[in-house]
């Protein structure tokens, strides 16, 4: 029984409750830095680190943090981890750090992280919060990788800098520019919506309605 719960904590973030594709959280980095696979990997790992670190810390401090100032406490904890990630990236991969620019700092306001603290880490044990954060972190990396691969392969004809289609390929420049981000994620979400609709033969309420409610819930978080 306990085993089942642990796997469930770990696996739900990967697909069923994928933070980007299903919960539509953390849109800003997903759209802004996914124009090359290398950027996506760096961003994914940085967010993963911050998410796991702050989840473990928040859940171990959950009995000490007074309810009234909890959001402020979470933000300060998250900001500390982000500062660490920022400095490590700057020291190890300066080129990528420069490309990501302000978006590393913006991990602080990534809704995924605050949402996990508020919804999960603040109420559960350290071990369960750790599993949850690992699952959600990987879910975020998966979504980023999907976006980056599509955008880099179509937009520059390369994958991680290696040519995919050979020299005759005319790149769709629009895919690495801002509109490409909106369009890629938009069509991806539409495909998922169509897929879930096909699987559920008789939706009592239209799926889009769920999605909008989820946004307003996220907004409240």
């Amino acid at each position: 029984m306990k085993q089942v719960a642990a796997t469930e904590d770990l696996l739900k973030g990967l697909w069923k409750e994928n933070p980007v594709l299903v919960q539509t959280l953390g849109m800003c980095p997903t759209l802004a830095i996914t124009n090359s696979v290398a950027n996506g990997i760096a961003m994914g790992i940085a967010t993963f680190f911050v998410l796991v670190g702050s989840s473990v810390l928040v859940s171990s401090l959950r009995k000490l943090i007074p309810n009234e100032v909890r959001i402020t406490a979470y933000i300060v904890i998250i900001a500390t981890f982000v500062t660490v990630a920022d400095m490590v990236l700057q020291a190890t991969v300066p080129v990528i750090h420069k490309q990501l620019g302000a978006f590393i700092a913006l991990i602080v306001v990534n809704c995924i992280i605050l949402a996990r603290q508020e919804a999960f880490a603040a109420k559960n044990t350290v071990w369960r919060s750790f599993l949850d954060a690992v699952g959600m972190g990987f879910g975020f990396i998966i979504a980023l990788m999907l976006m980056c691969s599509v955008r880099e392969v179509l937009g520059s004809g390369t994958f991680l800098g290696h040519s995919v289609f050979g020299p005759n390929y005319e790149p769709w420049v629009i895919m690495v520019l801002p509109p490409g981000g909106f369009l890629t994620l938009g069509f991806m979400l539409l495909a998922i919506a169509a897929w879930t609709k096909r699987k559920a033969p008789k939706p009592l309420r239209a799926r889009p309605h769920d999605v909008t409610t989820r946004i307003s819930q996220k907004a409240v978080v």
Partner: protein, 192 residues
Amino acid sequence: MGDVLWVFVSSMLVNNFTLIMFLGLCPFLGVSNKVDTGLRMGAANIFVLVLTSIAVSFLNKFVLVSAPYLRLISFIVVIASLVQIVEMAIKKLSPTLFRELGIYLPLITTNCAILGLAQFQTSRGYDFTEGLAFALGGGLGLMLALVLMASIREHLELADVPSVLKGVGFVLVLAGTLSLAFMGFAGLFSAS
């Protein structure tokens, strides 16, 4: 003077916060159902952006010179307390406006546009007036994007759209189209 004007127009149109730089997407996707709410949200954002810009200018000049590693933490704490102060002031001065803004006001804290403004203002080394122009232009751009999106969505309500196309996905595709249109402003200054 030319610089300040350039910063203003650039942050409003050429590098529109929402559509080109992907900042502040949460309210853009979440509260762009009605033109009215869009306008109000935009106004609240402009207000907080301008205040943040002023605060960040002072922080950069007097506090962070000696402790640059505290930048992120001090920014986020300043933004959170600013929003709190604004909330209390509005509640006291104009309860009607407070009720109209509702939940949107405290939410501005976690809006990436605000922290993004603080970060970009620092990394680009804007001085006080340029910072103000950046905040004002960025805020107006945000409001423009919100209102454009809200008016499109209001029209969509009346149209007969297949139910699959009624979710966030379609809003993103719309945003992509708007973003495409805003790319057109990129040539605004290169000619001269």
